[in-house]
Assembly symmetry: C2
Homo-oligomer: 371 residues x 2
């Protein structure tokens, strides 16, 4: 197994975990957030910039890279880290989420999934073994079992069938693995605790170096999400990392760290950045708003990085003028903010005051307002 | 006068000039190329990146900045250099070219030009005095007289009337100047040598610290362009910088340096970059071509900068995948190439071998093929 993980400390106030994850390409303190580099770049950023605004660990999407540029081109460069010149650690998803969210005309069988290319409609097939083979070529440090990601409000009968199949797929993926990449199992089961428990226990019986939680942040309420992570905190092994997939809003990060989660990724910070919503230490800033037209104050006077020093009026101007630099500045800002937030969260765990920290953030920012 | 210029050396083989231009924000060897930062950013680049891929001198567009963000916002930051955090030297055009190329429903009077906003159609007016006032707020080191830029094939009667008016506008601009910014006069006259001579001599009589050549690279042939610059080389004062506006293709740069030109700007290298055409030391590379699909060789193995080290297959992938990073990589590449080219040109002048250099480039690159 190519990763090592240990919980260093548990927050006396909240139960949150402070851990240490060792990978072949870096050692990271948990909990951490990973920016998403879907297609060999964190959108708008160079690899050097992605390094500056992350902990040194990013996620790449198996589904997208499989289709474009394709495995032979990545292999010709060595692996994804050579293709995109990324010096840090890498994690890939299994492709399952994209198959179930981007494509239609799917046919799920025991063997795998037949589906259509999300852009050109050509016929494609993915299976647990193929997902592992693709992830071997991409060459990430941490990879994922191929899973079905059913809608959160699917009926129990279907959800049970799906969870059982995903468990069988997890075993097939594990059996297919030929490398020392760290393969995580993915817990599914929607909002049904019995199924979540069945899924988690099935994966624990198989034995993985880490456990992912899929099928959340897909349309359910925040309260429903938190209830599931809190429930799984009591089931998942203490000494293995827990990766909550697709979650990255500031309030969700804090709440789920309190619920025992260690790793996070999400496209939200980079996606909203490209539409002009900045996350700052003072809260959410919708930069296109008229109110910032003459605002010469820096985008964020508490953060480092050149993006934080640009004036709000300048960043607003770039968006108004359609200049691509604006998207990049806010992308860097949002990721730099999450890096800062996770560092503050880890410090609060260390000092047994994560609940105080959350309450303070509720008072001083607008990140919790939508709850 | 806030700039100083001297010709250090004339190429014995070609007659090209090697000079030294001193500005309040840097000393530059001529001939040089200036990237265009139309709206407070060289498109896709941060100011730090623009510095790395330029000589330290860029152009900003008066017309665009006047309309967005507008003068009060720039003034609130200090000047454009504060707004966009640009540490180098700056040059602004007069707005004339945009008024005549982007807008319609113009009405030209002795006083100035009434026209419609190129996007929202609102009524606007620019005059020689107003252009100077706007350029004072932007605060560039070198600024331009407000000029009319008629189409190159306008009839002689109209062209004469226009040249005479532009001369009167140049005097009004000079009279309106209240700062120590270096105001250049712009030679117009299309492809008519008599009118070009009249325009140049009229400006020389007024006396400017530098002379720009406008109305070229606007639809005429390369031979017609070169004939006019060669002609003006014999008329413009030896000891003042000559700025050929809107010219930046590699072959045009060399030919016009041979014709005695010192300064250049053009949107071409950055515009074609965003569509995937890279200029490299080996010639033009249309990166989206299938031929680069598996090409793991670097974009340019003779240039410095991280952009040059990215593989052609990776850059092609970014364009195929619609990733904005691709546009930035090629933008940096094209500007870095021009910076390199101008350095080679200056070295060739110093060593009295610019014609040899041109002939060598004709043999080893595809930049001259379209002639």
């Amino acid at each position: 197994m190519s990763i090592k993980f240990e919980v260093i400390k548990t927050c006396k106030q909240s139960g949150a975990r402070l851990g240490r994850l060792e990978t072949p390409h870096g050692v990271f303190e948990t909990p951490f957030f990973m920016p998403v580099g879907t297609q060999g770049t964190v959108k708008t950023l160079s690899s050097e910039e992605a390094m500056a605004v992350s902990e040194g660990l990013i996620l790449a999407n198996t589904y997208h890279l499989w289709l474009q540029p394709g495995m032979d081109i990545i292999k010709a460069h060595g692996a994804l880290r050579d293709f995109m010149k990324w010096d840090g650690a890498l994690l890939t998803d299994s492709g399952g989420f994209q198959v179930f969210s981007l494509t239609d005309m799917r046919k799920i069988t025991e063997e795998g999934v037949d589906f259509k290319h999300h852009k050109n409609g050509s016929s494609l097939f993915l299976s647990p073994e193929l997902s592992i083979q693709i992830q071997e070529v991409i060459g990430a440090d941490i990879i994922m079992s191929f899973d079905e990601c059913p809608p959160p409000y699917a009926d129990d009968a279907y959800m049970k069938e799906s969870v059982e199949r995903t468990l069988r797929w997890a075993k097939r993926g594990k059996d297919a693995l030929r490398t020392d990449q760290a393969l995580f199992g993915i817990v599914q089961g929607g909002l049904n605790k019995d199924l979540r428990a069945m899924s988690a226990k099935g994966l624990i019986d198989l034995g993985f170096p880490g456990y992912s939680i899929g099928g959340l942040s897909v349309g359910e309420t925040k309260e429903e999400m938190y209830e599931i992570t809190k429930f799984l905190d009591g089931i998942l092994p203490f000494d293995k990392p827990r990766y909550l997939m697709g979650v990255g809003a500031p309030d969700d990060l804090i709440e789920n760290v309190i619920n025992g989660m260690d790793m996070f990724d999400c496209v939200l910070p980079t996606r909203i950045a490209r539409h002009g919503t900045a996350w700052t230490t003072k809260g959410k800033v919708v930069i296109k708003n008229q109110t910032y037209e003459h605002d010469t104050s820096p985008l964020d006077d508490h953060l480092t990085g050149w993006q934080a020093t640009e004036s709000k009026a300048y960043v607003r101007h770039l968006f108004k003028a359609g200049e691509l630099l604006g998207k990049r500045i806010v992308t860097m800002q949002n990721l730099m903010y999450l890096k800062h937030l996770m560092k503050e969260i880890r410090q609060a765990i260390l000092e047994d005051r994560l609940l105080d920290f959350r309450d303070q953030m509720k008072k001083t920012t607008n990140y919790f307002k939508t709850r």
